[in-house]
């Protein structure tokens, strides 16, 4: 993680920030310290050591702020220091119940695993699931390594460190070689109060394994400002395939920091979709690291925001090896005073010939006070590559709107139709019909509630 | 003019031409026919000197000298012209600029005077007129937005301009409807001359109705398996490659 000084181009002297933990960080440090102590003797030494290291990283740099280039548009430190989150009433998402489809359900309530509300972990086939608070004796090296890894180029080291230091629970999942899971795994995070502990998940798909992972975040009960931290480390062995879908619909008391890092070996395929219907502040970091040739990563996402919501999608795709493909398609709908941030960086190393990397970010600004910030970035050191990015920001197409109205469709309906069409593309890329339908349903409900009618 | 003897060519480490021999004299038109993957395009690229086509055995002698070590532009200056199967689109580079640069580079290489802009314009207009090519087409960037037919006619125009001694036509018929094909063939026929040899590479007999060859060769498995006159093409059309190849084997 580089903590470069943020500047878009010339102008203004860089201001040196003394990166020490001040008042904002103090309560977090205290809590984490006592938590680590409480776990002594209850978990392996390697985990204790890693937690302490994580805490040190957080102590060194604290919460990132806008002078850190990767956090230029999301000043987390200021947000947390002012954390009397707004009282706007937005953020009601359809509750996704696993009963809507057959799944291996893992329920976490305020960050703690709820065994009673989850599937029976002892009767699974093709997959092993261990909880962070359980006996970790059976973990393989790779799982241990992922669990403890905090240096991810997107998520700030300090945040990742804090997550590791404080994580109370988390699912450590291993899909066995060649297994194709017939049911999706559903990590269901339900939040009820202000005291929420971070969760840390690890998913490894061994050679040729296939699985679908659904992550949902809901928390209608949360009234007090709450900081939710989630980390997910993914490793796909050769030829493994993971469909990974995330949906977030949290009330405005919540701040969610979610980091996903996926390591792809040869011919592996990662398909990730996100649907973000808010939180006061939502930062979603996605890091894709290509480690073997012929791998593919397709990332798509939609965010629909209202009130004062702030949603930041930050993506880093590291093409370190040749012959891999990546694509990003993100669509944003911004109303009220919401702010959308899209930062997508593609790095192509000198050896990574025949890389195919494409990136698209489109945003609709539907209010005078909404804001979009985009930074689609290409850093390319190999010559035989095809890389592109495109970014647009604007309002609904006047001509299309007129066309619909000329056919007798009322303005509000016409707008809703066009917005729905606009965000449909990323969601339609979801292969699993049940999940796709639920996501689409969530979008429809959001549109019905939102004040897109003028 | 051109003698190819027992030519072996590797592409990406795989042997594509496996001992091809062909003798072409001035004024002759040779058709090389073959199924997909027989090595037709490899032959055209190795003759024109494209990188990545490694000669591992045999020889190519052109006007008495070996071609093998020459760069593409040197071969072009010596009169070798390849009409591409898929002529490249080059946005930003005007057709006129391109042709003038090419002509003058070749003239310079041969120790001839370069043409100034006015003489070149005169020349290209005349050539375009002979071939019934709309001069408007030449104002556009090279091949950009050209139809398949226009691209192929532009290749013929370049051939007319550069006046090669050996022209290689690589699947010139691909992607053309019958009218476009006739136009292109007329252009090519107008360029037939006793000093000029042509190698017409094609998959289908159809083209040879319009560009009538003196000799027809069947290429299969990287070598010529059968040669004959134009009737061989008709025979191929009737009984297909499999039968001819099997018979030859």
């Amino acid at each position: 993680m580089t903590t470069s000084t943020s500047k878009s181009a010339e102008g203004g002297a860089p201001i040196r920030i003394v990166a020490s933990s001040g008042d904002v960080e103090a309560p977090f440090l205290e809590k984490a310290e006592s938590f680590i102590r409480s776990r002594t003797g209850n978990e392996p030494d390697w985990l204790q050591r890693a937690r302490s290291k994580g805490l040190e990283a957080f102590r060194r740099s604290g919460f990132p702020h806008r002078r850190v280039e990767e956090w230029k548009y999301t000043d987390l430190r200021t947000h947390i220091s002012k954390s009397d989150a707004s009282s706007s009433s937005a953020g009601h998402a359809t509750q996704i119940e696993s009963s809507a489809f057959d799944a291996i359900t893992l329920t976490f309530v305020d960050g703690a695993f709820d065994r009673a509300a989850s599937s029976d972990l002892t009767s699974l086939s093709g997959v092993e699931v261990v909880m962070l608070e359980d006996d970790l004796g059976a973990l393989v090296e790779r799982q241990k390594h992922l669990l403890c890894a905090i240096d991810n180029p997107v998520t700030s080291l300090s945040i990742n460190g804090l997550n590791l230091a404080q994580a109370r629970s988390g699912a450590i999942i291993r899909v066995l070689p060649g297994e194709a899971l017939s049911k999706p795994i559903h990590i269901r995070s339900v939040h009820t109060g202000a005291e929420i502990s971070p969760a840390r998940h690890v998913v490894v798909l061994e050679s040729g394994a296939r699985a679908t992972l659904l992550e949902t975040n809901t928390g209608d009960g949360v009234k007090e400002p709450a900081l939710i931290g989630q980390s997910l480390q993914i490793h796909l062995e050769p030829n493994a395939e993971l469909s990974h879908h995330r949906s977030v619909g949290l009330p405005d008391a919540c701040t969610l920091l979610s980091g996903v890092a996926a390591h792809l070996e040869a011919e592996a395929h990662y398909a990730g979709t996100t649907l973000n219907l808010g939180a006061a502040l939502l930062r979603q970091d996605t890091h894709i690291a290509f480690q073997g040739e012929g791998a593919i990563a397709d990332l798509t996402g939609a965010y629909l925001l209202n009130g004062n919501q702030h949603c930041d999608q930050t993506i880093f795709i590291d093409h370190a090896v040749p012959n891999c493909e990546s694509s990003q398609v993100f669509k944003g709908v911004l109303t009220d005073r919401s702010r959308g941030v899209f930062q997508g960086k593609v790095l192509v190393a000198q050896d990574a010939q025949h890389t195919d990397a494409h990136q698209l970010s489109n945003a609709l600004l539907l209010s005078e006070r909404a804001e979009l910030d985009a930074k689609p970035e290409l850093e390319i050191y190999a010559d035989d590559v095809k890389c592109s990015h495109g970014s647009t920001a604007g309002e609904l197409d006047e001509d299309a709107l007129f066309y619909l109205r000329a056919r007798g469709i009322p303005l509000a309906v016409a707008k809703t139709l066009l917005i729905e069409a606009f965000v449909r593309e990323p969601i339609e890329s979801i292969k699993e019909e049940a999940i796709r339908n639920i996501f689409m349903q969530q979008v429809s409900e959001w549109l019905q509630n939102a004040e897109v009618r003028t | 003019m051109l003698q190819i003897k027992d030519l072996r060519v590797d592409v990406d480490g795989k042997e594509i031409l496996t001992g091809l021999s062909l003798d072409v004299k001035a004024g002759e038109v040779h058709a090389v026919m073959g199924p997909n993957g027989s090595g037709k395009s490899t032959l055209s690229y190795v003759l024109s000197g494209r990188d990545g086509y490694d000669v591992t055995g045999g020889s190519i002698t052109y006007k008495g000298d070996s071609l093998v070590d020459l760069d593409p532009e040197d071969r072009a200056a010596q009169g070798i012209f390849l009409a591409f199967q898929y002529p490249l689109e080059i946005p930003g580079v005007g057709s006129m600029t391109f042709m003038r640069t090419a002509l003058n580079a070749q003239r310079k290489a041969r120790g001839e005077n370069e043409l100034d802009a006015a003489s070149f314009m005169k020349l290209i207009r005349a050539k375009a007129k002979e071939l019934n090519i709309d001069a408007e087409m030449l104002k556009r960037p090279l091949n950009v937005g050209f139809s398949g037919g226009e691209k192929k006619r532009n290749e013929v125009l370049q051939m007319a301009l550069l006046e090669p001694t050996l022209a290689i036509l690589d699947e010139t018929d691909s992607g053309l409807d019958i009218d476009a094909l006739k136009l292109v063939a007329d252009g090519v026929n107008a360029l037939r001359s006793p000093d000029r040899a042509m190698i017409v590479i094609t998959h289908y007999q159809r083209l040879l109705n319009y560009i009538v060859p003196d000799y027809v060769h069947v290429l299969a498995g990287g070598k010529i398996v059968k040669s004959g006159d134009k009737s061989l093409a008709l025979e191929l059309e009737k009984s297909g490659y499999d039968a001819i190849v099997a018979e030859a084997a």
Partner: protein, 487 residues
């Protein structure tokens, strides 16, 4: 070369009453190495500046002391010791200058030849002793005619050091009004120590009768390493200004930090074209100019327009973002750029389009070409403020890589705070097509010429925005800059 300087200042003085003869006679001295307040007083005194100008410089210097060098650009170079440089260097003595072209680096001469630069002019550019401007132009009459024509139109075009005396009210009003003294480290340094540069004032309703260029090609070499340019286009006026030279110039100074400020008032238009071809260092990356430039235009009045066109092929390190502040309603900003880096060159360049007014429009076309072991970065900001109703931006950034040891990077920042604005950004990165290269070669075009042809094709959209006379030379320059990049 006092003779040269004399001639130049005489020529410059034509048409203007040149009452402050402070320039040439005392040039034999130079300030001691290093930078402190005394250096600045020395520079100011040498120029016979009024107190307000000295105070302005000193203020800048004091602020500069508090600042640190920016580090965010994707360029690497050894730490610069700002105390190990001369800030007021007199021209080299005639004994040091080459006696004839025979003594000039043959590589430099080859380049001149390829660009088709006349012999006399070559001598001038190479700094050969005793070549005067009038010799280059055959007679002083060209310059005189030029000056007369401008004077007739009421256009003021003179060294900024002269404008400080002749038009203090204009300089006071506009200097630092676009690029504030403390804008950035290098701009502040420039404000403290700027050597010279151009001052252009186009009166209301005047269309400047000529490109401000021809004359400049020769004279500009003495503006020094801390160039300062100020162009003011009054209501309804138009000017096209051409800076730089396609021919590489001899230059002993490694650090260049120029500031250019443009002000376009209501309905005015400024077109600013640059060809930057400073010494890029040798093929091993030794030497070369560090070029840290701050260029900014302020579309201050409604319906004004500022258009930047740049061809950047020189310098070891380039750090440059010609920008537009689109303040006036309906104002237009344009940025057309070609940046070519070869060998070990590094360029971090782009633009900022800041949309403040209604219906403001901006267009960015950037073509980056990277070869050898070079690094080429486009960095740009498009910012739409809440009051910029119906603002439009279109950005296209294309990068071309030649060889597998170089890098091409695109770092756009897009900030939109108005729903009626439309911001579009597209970027591509690809390599020089082997198929296209082969196609050209099959037609008999040699490899280097084919590369030139293809790269010029890639750049066409930008080249066509250069003034005619320059476009031809710039095209040749593209080829020369890429020599040795293939094969």
């Amino acid at each position: 070369m006092p003779a040269v300087d004399e001639t130049i200042s005489e020529v410059k003085g034509l048409g203007e009453k040149y009452k402050y003869g402070f320039e040439t006679q005392i040039l034999s001295e130079k300030a001691p190495k290093g930078l402190d307040e005394d250096t600045i007083r020395f520079i100011s005194a040498k120029k016979g500046e009024p107190d307000w100008m000295l105070d302005w410089r000193l203020d800048a210097y004091r602020r500069w002391l508090e600042m640190t060098e920016p580090k965010w650009a994707m360029v690497n170079y050894p730490e610069i010791d700002f105390q190990d440089a001369y800030y007021y260097a007199a021209p080299k003595s005639p004994e040091d200058a080459p006696q004839s072209l025979d003594e000039v680096d043959p590589e430099l001469l080859k380049t001149y030849e390829k660009l088709g630069i006349p012999l006399k002019e070559q001598e001038m550019l190479a700094g050969v002793r005793n070549v005067a401007v009038d010799a280059v132009f055959d007679s002083v009459s060209v310059v005189t005619t030029f000056k007369e024509k401008l004077a007739e139109a009421g256009v003021i075009f003179c060294p900024i050091s002269e404008a400080v005396h002749t038009h203090p009210e204009l300089v006071k009003k506009y200097l630092g009004s676009v690029v504030p003294v403390t804008d950035n480290f290098y701009a502040t340094l420039n404000s403290a120590v700027f050597s010279d540069g151009s001052f252009v004032y186009i009166p209301e309703g005047v269309r400047c009768p000529m490109e401000l260029s021809t004359y400049f090609r020769i004279n500009e070499q003495n503006t020094g390493q801390f160039e300062r340019t100020l162009i003011i286009a009054e209501k309804g006026s138009y000017v096209s200004y051409l800076e730089g030279c396609t021919a590489p110039m001899r230059d002993e100074n490694q650090l260049h930090a120029a500031v250019v400020e443009l002000v376009a008032l209501d309905d005015a238009e400024i077109k600013y074209s640059t060809v930057q071809n400073w010494y890029p260092g040798d093929a091993e990356g030794k030497g070369g100019i560090y070029n840290f430039v701050t260029k900014r235009g302020d579309c201050r009045g409604p319906n004004s327009k500022i258009s930047w066109t740049q061809v950047e092929t020189g310098s070891a390190v380039t750090w440059k973002y010609p920008s537009c502040i689109l303040r006036g309603d309906n104002s237009v900003g344009e940025f057309y750029s070609i940046a070519i880096t070869n060998n070990y060159q590094q360029a971090d360049t782009g633009t900022k389009m800041v949309h403040l007014g209604k219906n403001t429009k901006s267009r960015i076309i950037s073509k980056g070409i990277s070869a050898g072991k070079a690094q080429n970065t486009y960095r740009g900001l498009v910012s739409i403020h809440p009051k910029a109703k119906a603002a439009r931006n279109y950005t296209q950034c294309d990068s071309l890589l030649i060889g597998d040891k170089c890098g091409a990077h695109t770092v756009p920042y897009i900030e939109s705070r108005d729903p009626s604005a439309l911001v579009e950004h597209e970027a591509t990165t690809s390599k020089l097509s082997e198929e296209q290269l082969f196609y050209c070669r099959q037609r008999g075009i040699g490899e280097e010429e084919a590369v030139t042809l293809l790269v010029n094709g890639f750049c066409k959209e930008v080249l066509q925005h250069l003034p005619m006379e320059f476009a031809v030379e710039a095209q040749k320059l593209v080829g020369i800059s890429l020599e040795g990049s293939v094969g």
